[in-house]
């Protein structure tokens, strides 16, 4: 996967790059409007992570350039502006998603995976992790081709885990993903624990390996 990270704040830019740097990913960065503009004019990316408030320019112009040239790059806007107007404007211009700062990198990754999945037209409407297969159209999960019944939240949790496989995900990131960040009852994480317990039990009962590992005090890690 080839990504372009357009972000003027170096701390955030480096974090994103580090989080996405892994085998099979190429992460390029642009710290300002000109660099970003030059890059998108020449190269194609699977997804562009775009901060719209940039020095010397507006990120929205980059989206317009892409759309005017009919480039298929996915665009994920990250912005500190949380007004519906900005969101609608960005999405209407052709951005694929809009994420408000601050966000969890796990959330960014899950959103980005969703975009690239949607963009791939090779019928990949499913996510596969070893013996687990998630059918995105039917919102169904199978383990070794045997269906496992998940609730809506359990399904969302599963998808979130697979998008962030091999990463430690904080409990806060999970809570905000499942319940939204408006709901500030996340001070009680017991219910995350019970959700995860259920998912784990269902997977193991279906003969799946135990991929969910608790990381003491912080969160969970999904992986081998």
């Amino acid at each position: 996967m080839k990504l372009l990270i357009v972000e003027d704040e170096p701390g955030l830019r480096d974090s994103i790059r580090e989080y996405f740097t892994e085998e099979g990913n190429i992460c390029e960065i642009a710290a300002n409007y000109e660099t970003a503009y030059q890059k998108v004019s020449v190269y194609r990316y699977d997804c562009i992570i775009l901060d719209i408030t940039l020095p010397n320019g507006n990120g929205l112009d980059i989206i317009m350039t892409l759309k005017a040239n009919r480039h298929p790059d996915g665009v994920l806007i990250i912005s500190a502006k949380n007004s519906l107007d900005d969101r609608l404007l960005g999405l209407n211009l052709g951005a694929d998603d809009y994420l408000t700062k601050p966000f969890h990198l796990a959330e960014l990754r899950a959103r980005l995976m969703a975009i690239t999945r949607r963009k791939s037209f090779d019928g990949h409407q499913s996510v596969v992790f070893n013996e687990i297969k998630m059918d995105l159209a039917a919102k169904a999960v199978t383990v070794n081709n045997v269906p496992v019944k998940f609730t809506r939240k359990e399904y969302a949790l599963m998808l979130y885990f697979i998008a962030n496989k091999e990463k430690v995900i904080s409990k806060n990131a999970i809570a905000e993903h499942l319940w939204g960040d408006e709901i500030d009852v996340a001070d009680n994480f017991d219910f995350i624990y019970s959700h995860i317990k259920n998912v784990r039990k269902k997977l193991i009962d279906a003969g799946c390996n135990d991929y969910i590992h608790a990381v003491y005090g912080m969160g969970y890690k999904f992986g081998e």
């Binding site: 701390g11 007004s83 990198l105 409990k171 806060n172 003491y216 005090g217």
Partner: protein, 417 residues
């Protein structure tokens, strides 16, 4: 006491005193002038007597008119001092004593010393003084009456612009969008006051706006560093295995950052609502549907706290922004859950006219004046302290009324549409 009451009192007092003093001065002046006149008459009369004696060498015949009497008395050897006296005047006709003015003098007739006493009635002088007194009283009464009328009619009218200004100042609300508009009056002082009030209100509004801008910008600018901290934490937890102590610390950090984020977002949202900047178009929404989806979202929390949920939801369609409705409902519901007891109860009822959320919780009523204040929260609360302020601000924007009551064991929040 009203200003013009005080003013009237002072002016009335002063005017009455001045009139009284004038009256007294008049009295003395006029009576002095009149006495001087009478004294001159008396001297004329005395001279007549002297002339008569000189000519005839005998005393004139004594006659008594209605206003003048002359008496002669044999004085022998005593020395008669020439002097004026105030004395009684015997009115012959009415046989009454009136006040009079007399001149005592002496005349020698045929080597005989006589005392001459000439007395004139002063009754006319006294009549005059009496009239002056009546005029003075009438003047006082007239002035009081005039002041009273001026007070009632004119001053009320004169002060009208002042009361208009006062009313506007009373209704002045910093967060309102409209400014004070004051009509010009014909009175310079009031115009000056109006100008001062208008410019002050504009200045205050401007300052307030700047302050709000500052808060907005500050909250906004804070979001980026918070985003950096958040992302660095996300990276940090990937790095290695942490021991228990480190993990706990990291968990605490995460929670603090997320609290900071929520707080920041709540401040930004509140300021947006206060400034009517939610441009998300208002539309007809059925509150029932939103409550149902919120309850669905919160269901784990009910189960977790073993809260019994009772609902009685009718349709209620209002015209408002969807996102604000969500904020409203989520805040009320999450409060009702957060402050609930383990195994408590939550009752949500909705109809066309109002939404009511009743929950068990602490045994005592909350201070209904305090709870809607910013950052007012119970010591053990983990919230931002802005939830109810947000709810109230939204209600204010849409002209809903939000009330809190406590009917043991329920805390009840009611929104009337």
């Amino acid at each position: 006491m009203k200003l013009f009451q005080i003013y009237n009192r002072i002016s009335l007092f002063t005017v009455v005193i001045i009139i009284l003093i004038t009256g007294i001065v008049y009295y003395y002046t006029i009576s002095a002038i009149l006495t001087y006149q009478i004294d001159k008459d008396l001297v004329v009369e005395e001279n007549e007597v002297f002339d008569y004696v000189k000519l005839n060498h005998k005393l004139p015949q004594v006659f008594r008119s209605t206003d003048q009497q002359i008496y002669f008395r044999h004085a022998n050897n005593e020395v008669v001092e020439r002097r004026y006296i105030n004395t009684d005047f015997k009115d012959v006709k009415d046989n009454e004593n009136e006040s009079g003015r007399g001149l005592i003098s002496s005349v020698i007739v045929n080597n005989q010393n006589y005392e001459v006493r000439i007395i004139e009635s002063k009754v006319e002088t006294e009549d005059l003084i009496w009239i002056i007194f009546l005029i003075t009283i009438a003047l006082i009464v007239l002035i009081i009456a005039t002041l009273f009328i001026i007070n009632r009619v004119l001053i009320k009218k004169l002060w009208k612009p002042f009361y208009g200004t006062l009313e506007q100042v009373k209704q002045f609300n910093l967060t309102d969008k409209d400014t004070i508009t004051l009509a010009g009056s014909k009175i310079d002082e009031f115009d000056e006051l109006n100008n001062a009030v208008t410019s002050m209100s504009l200045r205050v509004k401007d300052d307030y706006k700047n302050l709000k801008h500052f808060i907005d910008n500050a909250s906004h600018e804070l979001l980026t560093p918070v985003a950096v901290i958040n992302s660095k934490l996300d990276i940090l937890i990937q790095t290695n295995d942490f021991n228990e102590r480190q993990s706990e610390l990291l968990g605490d950090l995460y929670e603090t950052v997320s609290k900071l984020t929520r707080l920041n977002k709540a401040i930004l949202l509140l300021s947006k609502i206060e400034n009517n900047l939610i441009t998300d178009d208002a539309q007809y929404v059925n509150i029932k549907r939103h409550i149902e989806s919120s309850l669905n979202l919160f269901q784990e929390l009910f189960i977790n706290k073993n809260i019994t949920l009772k609902t009685d939801l009718g349709d209620a369609i209002v015209m408002m922004s969807k996102s604000l409705l969500e904020v409203l409902i989520n805040n009320l519901l999450s409060n009702a859950i957060r402050h609930n007891n383990y195994g408590g109860e939550l009752i949500v009822s909705l109809n066309k006219y109002h939404l009511q959320i009743k929950n068990t919780g602490s045994e005592t009523a909350l201070d209904s004046k305090q709870i809607f204040q910013r950052f007012n929260k119970s010591a053990q609360s983990e919230g931002t302290g802005l939830g109810l302020t947000l709810v109230q601000q939204i209600c204010t924007n849409y002209n809903f009324t939000l009330t809190y009551t406590f009917e043991s064991p329920f805390h009840i929040f009611t929104i009337t549409f």
